[in-house]
Symmetry: C2
Subunit: 387 residues, 2 copies
């Protein structure tokens, strides 16, 4: 199997982006990624667009996006996997290179969430799973699904609302240092606890925002990376993926996500590493409880010890493992298709040690991990990156 | 690069399928494909779902579909490329095996077009391209886009409404022999010419129907095909793909599709064959003019000679190249996500010589071709299959 490197990354400012069309938003990320790789569209063999796109006015958005960013005639694929769309697109692109069918691939993730009338419920969120059984019959929105896991985790392991608030505090702190984050202001534990309940114990400040945004990643084979004189290629060491039943009532418990555990196991095995090797990670903190559960499911700590990890501050840069030090979904934002590629954007910068001061994780082994989830643990992707 | 074989195929009856849900429809094809391959879900490494899904009630349909057909936890990807979704999904699956990241892949294509209120215009068809410029500003629906190409082809090459009607007559003839076709009745040239105009010169009987349907294809590596004791593997000899600008006014002419020409060139080169080697083909006859233009763009004849080929009856089984002898999109039906995989279903049966009487193309070289197009030549996939 051919080795695959990340040779260029780009990301738009995440936030409410009524100032641009979907195509223009994609271009902000694509231009930066191409410049970062030191290439032009002519060097790219194929473009993979990851976008949920649902209910936006361009319902099959890959074609206008590819055309606008100069990828015609090399843009024949769109990938969708709800909130995990970004790493799904990366995985599809990865296989084009690993197989030998392409040397250079552009993966584009883009989403305009604010174009949709009711993104959290009927129009999008409620349909990311099994609409008929979960949303229509039981009214299970995304916050309600995560609240189910939060209460179970609290009951079984003593995790508290304060623990969850600490995740928001950490991620908002890093958002405040990130000029591309949706939220660039810090919050306190008290502010989180006093914020409006969405689906108890999840409150407004436990929740990721409705963001527009784009991210792009240029992948290359080893030969192409050498030919293009890439200074610091970041290698994709292993990718894992799995889904779980979208019918929540069929799951055996609500304290962890099987899809994440299976995906992590596959990624670690393929990369030949252990969870403890990971020094910097972006995990899917759609809600603060999800970050605590991710610590456990990814094997950073044992099941039930996630709350302790955040309480001890071990997931700040300099701790045991730096997590979401770009702000995460919680503060950087969560524009579905762009989210996973935005993680790879950040981790590539980290592995190249291009961040400054408190924003740079100290590295010895140069191992990073991205974790992208669809729905309430419906699908998970885990990508291990190494310099 | 690892070789990839088609080892199992299945297809539901195409048509108005109000009798089943999307998941149940998918299962009809998946069950047949698994049985045809002589395997169970346990033997599959990953499932790729191809579906446009737009405006159906399951907006992110891969998860409920995969779960229902028993593919949890191996179903983390959905692919969409409008009407070319089926072969896009096949291509994604192909690369998972060619790279060595999977041994057995299930590609599922499924669509319920009749669940959507206005499938041809606002809700789906008009948005398969560049909604804002083409549909909203200029009112260019799919039939109108193809009519533009039909009138240009008539003006430049003398193609007539009768020539187009002959395509409908051929494809309905084969539909009448296919118990899985949406339309199982023959039509006459006179009936086609007298049918209601949709966008002149395209009439109702020049148009493919609004079909529900599913198709599934099991792919395997050479080793896996041997291990699973597959009798007659059908090899994917080469895949080509390309897109063109979705803004029709920017195209240099309207007598051929650049995306098809580029995709065919790539597929022929990778397969190491010439167009004349193809003995049986399924081409994307969304409208009858599209089949005539496909003859030319795929290189079966020179540009401008497509009408002559159908007029001489050379695309019936036994002619120069047998085209759409399952009824094609025109009579078998066009359930977007299922269409391309339905082509592979038919061609696999042809290459294995499992059809009877007039439905079996006579073969010497055992070379087949599938051609799947999105929009009005917006994206094209060409897959060359060999026994």
């Amino acid at each position: 199997m051919r080795k695959v490197a990340v040779i260029g990354v780009g990301q738009s400012v995440f936030g409410v982006r009524g100032d641009v069309t979907l195509q223009e938003l994609a271009w902000e990320a694509v231009r930066e990624a191409l410049e970062d790789a030191g290439i032009t569209q002519k060097d790219v063999d194929i473009s993979v667009v990851g976008t949920v796109g649902t209910r936006g006015y361009e319902l099959m958005p890959a074609q206008p996006v590819n055309d606008y960013v100069g990828m015609t005639p090399k843009g024949p694929i769109r990938v969708e996997m709800a909130c995990a769309t970004g790493l799904a697109a990366l995985t599809v692109g990865y296989n084009f290179i690993a197989s030998g069918n392409a040397d250079v691939v552009l993966a584009i993730g883009v989403e305009k969430m604010n174009e949709v009338d009711t993104p959290t419920s009927l129009a999008v969120g409620g349909r990311a799973g099994n609409y008929l059984w979960e949303f229509h019959f039981y009214g299970t929105t995304m916050p309600a699904g995560y609240a189910l896991y939060a209460t179970a985790h609290m009951a079984k392991f003593g995790t508290t609302e304060e623990h969850m608030a600490l995740v928001a505090v950490k991620n908002h702190y890093y958002g405040s240092l990130n000029p591309k984050a949706h939220f660039q202001h810090p919050v306190t534990v008290e502010e989180v606890l006093k914020s409006r309940p969405v689906a108890w114990p999840i409150k407004l400040l436990d929740s990721s925002p409705i963001s527009d945004g784009a991210a792009a990643v240029v992948l290359a084979s080893e030969d192409a990376a050498r030919r293009l004189k890439v200074d610091t290629p970041v290698w994709i060491a292993g990718i894992g993926y799995a889904n779980d039943t979208p019918i929540l009532t069929r799951r055996p418990d609500y304290v962890g996500y099987r899809a994440t555990r299976l995906a992590a196991e596959m990624a670690y095995k393929r990369a030949g590493i252990a969870p403890q090797d990971v020094e910097v990670a972006n995990v899917h903190d759609a809600f603060t409880i999800a970050e605590i559960i991710a610590y456990e499911d990814l094997g950073f700590v044992k099941k039930g010890e996630g709350a302790k990890l955040i309480a001890e501050g071990q997931t700040y840069a300099g701790g045991k493992v730096a997590v979401n030090i770009d702000g995460g979904l919680k503060a950087k934002g969560h524009p579905l298709g762009a989210t996973g590629l935005g993680m790879v954007y950040e981790l590539t910068k980290q592995l190249r040690e291009e961040r400054e001061g408190k924003r740079q994780a100290p590295l010895k082994r140069y191992v990073a991990l991205a974790h992208n989830v669809a729905g309430v643990g419906h699908v998970a992707y885990v990508v291990v990156l190494r310099r």
